[in-house]
């Protein structure tokens, strides 16, 4: 079960395009209209507002500028499609009656734009367990006086709370802690990466020992005329077939013990 967040980053604006057609013609036969919902946190509850109906074969784009006024300041806007309307309030993220595909997963376009340019990727946001971890090796930093680099750590959990955790930023080569930042569950946590002294040969490591998150790396020129976004794979993607979770556990155990605070 996946939601589609509307992203945010400094001096640019998020947008999300939902599609009501499956990504292939052979895994499922889906021709139903679906309810579009906006889910957000308020007063330690999940609230879901219906934004309309998306007919089969249609697409619709939602912009942060139109959605943010509908939710409390700073909360994460989560869009979803469901064949049945969602409960207006719930203590857990609402269950979606949403068609599932895996080759590929049913996705939306998640993007950031400015007056001059735009960047996007095809994605979805899974619900993370309340206890998880993050280890991301991130060779995405771009360098230049007019360039800025950020990591957007996006987390959603079933429970409508903002639990705090600590993200640590290391250099993979010497495993020296370069800094740490507080992050929260059910948020888009924005960390500028230009402040840690990385050079072009450094491999940054972003680590969190007790919270999972989707790590999105966003670079832009300071005038927002050019931008790029991409996420790192989970460590299990360095292998294929067999016990991929075992491989991920091996890497995480090794690096979490080596990365000294």
């Amino acid at each position: 079960m996946s939601f589609f967040p509307i992203l945010k980053a400094p001096n640019v604006s998020g947008y999300t395009t939902l599609c009501n057609f499956p990504p292939n013609n052979w895994e499922i036969n889906h021709t139903k209209s679906q309810f579009i919902s906006l889910t957000y946190m308020e007063d330690n509850m999940w609230h879901s507002d219906q934004l309309g109906i998306l007919n089969s074969n249609d697409l619709k784009t939602f912009y942060a500028t139109e959605i943010e006024p509908l939710i409390p300041d700073g909360e994460l806007p989560l869009l979803s499609l469901s064949e049945e309307p969602l409960l207006k309030t719930s203590k857990q993220l609402p269950a979606l009656k949403f068609p599932v595909t895996t080759t590929p997963w049913w996705r939306a376009t998640l993007g950031l734009s400015s007056q001059f340019s735009a960047t996007s990727y095809q994605g979805e946001l899974p619900i993370f367990p309340s206890q998880g971890s993050l280890l991301s090796f991130a060779p995405f930093l771009q360098f230049g006086q007019t360039i800025e680099n950020f990591v957007l750590l996006v987390n959603i959990t079933n429970d409508p709370v903002h639990n705090a955790s600590e993200v640590e930023i290391y250099n993979a080569n010497n495993k020296i802690l370069l800094g740490s930042r507080e992050i929260f569950s059910n948020k888009i946590n924005i960390i500028q990466l230009d402040d840690f002294g990385f050079n072009e040969n450094d491999l940054p490591v972003i680590s969190c020992r007790n919270m999972s998150a989707l790590p999105l790396y966003f670079s832009k020129t300071k005038d927002e005329s050019s931008m790029s976004i991409e996420h790192t794979h989970a460590p299990m993607s360095m292998v294929t077939h067999g016990d991929r979770f075992g491989a991920q556990k091996h890497i995480k155990d090794l690096w979490f013990s080596d990365l000294k605070k």
Partner: protein
Amino acid sequence: MKKIVQRIYKARWTYRQSLTKKPKNVSTKISDLFVWRSSSKWETFFELVDIASLFENKTMPRNYVDIVFFNSNGETILQRKIELIKNRRQVINISNLLSKVGHIEKYGEVGAFAIFHSNIPKIIPKLSSFIAERGYVSYKYKDNLLCSYVHGNLDAISMCENNINTVGGRGFLTRKYNLQYELKGGSVYELGIVNSSNKNMLVECEFTPINGGPIVTKLESINSKGVKVFSIGVDPKHSYRAIMSSKLIMTRPLVFRINEDYFDVFHG
């Protein structure tokens, strides 16, 4: 009865038709087939990381990778060994490597490449797994200050004792891949498709209008390990969807969006 019919229907698409084939030899290395573009407008880079060293913290002999380049027809045009630097970032200028063999004159401006790691950490065969390179490619367009990054996402090709084979699956029936993306007006879109199967594939790309404009259909034959680019310039008043049809299990395109002042690259 309904369930039996459903299972038979599904089996037409799934029986002996996996997305990727599992290698038999444990020393096999896997890679995506990444797209290179190299011309007066495009440059391609690869973010090389020593994957094996991420699994083992002891001092190891220097590892290396074999980078194998293919032209758009899937023919091998270049193979290079590159030494890896443990726990560091190495940006490989793919366009520079290709320029040494005069790629534009001989091989055109687009093709594929694969990266095979020499060292397999001991833990990986114990887990019945294979080391896989699905890393990060960046593209630079004209004089843009930024590169646009995109990750690999498919087990496409394998190397075992210098034998290179595709591992992408193919089906019995033609199947559709519906790109869940709106091709908005005012941009040129170039969709790169790689053939990761071991047979020549016919691929049709239908650009279907959402908001005005004619249907545009393009058909290409793509050799094994080859690449073809399907392009459309979308009028500012119109928008489109893209639907790929072929016998590949997943005809997922790499999408290049090109505007007058900026560009973006992402996977379908």
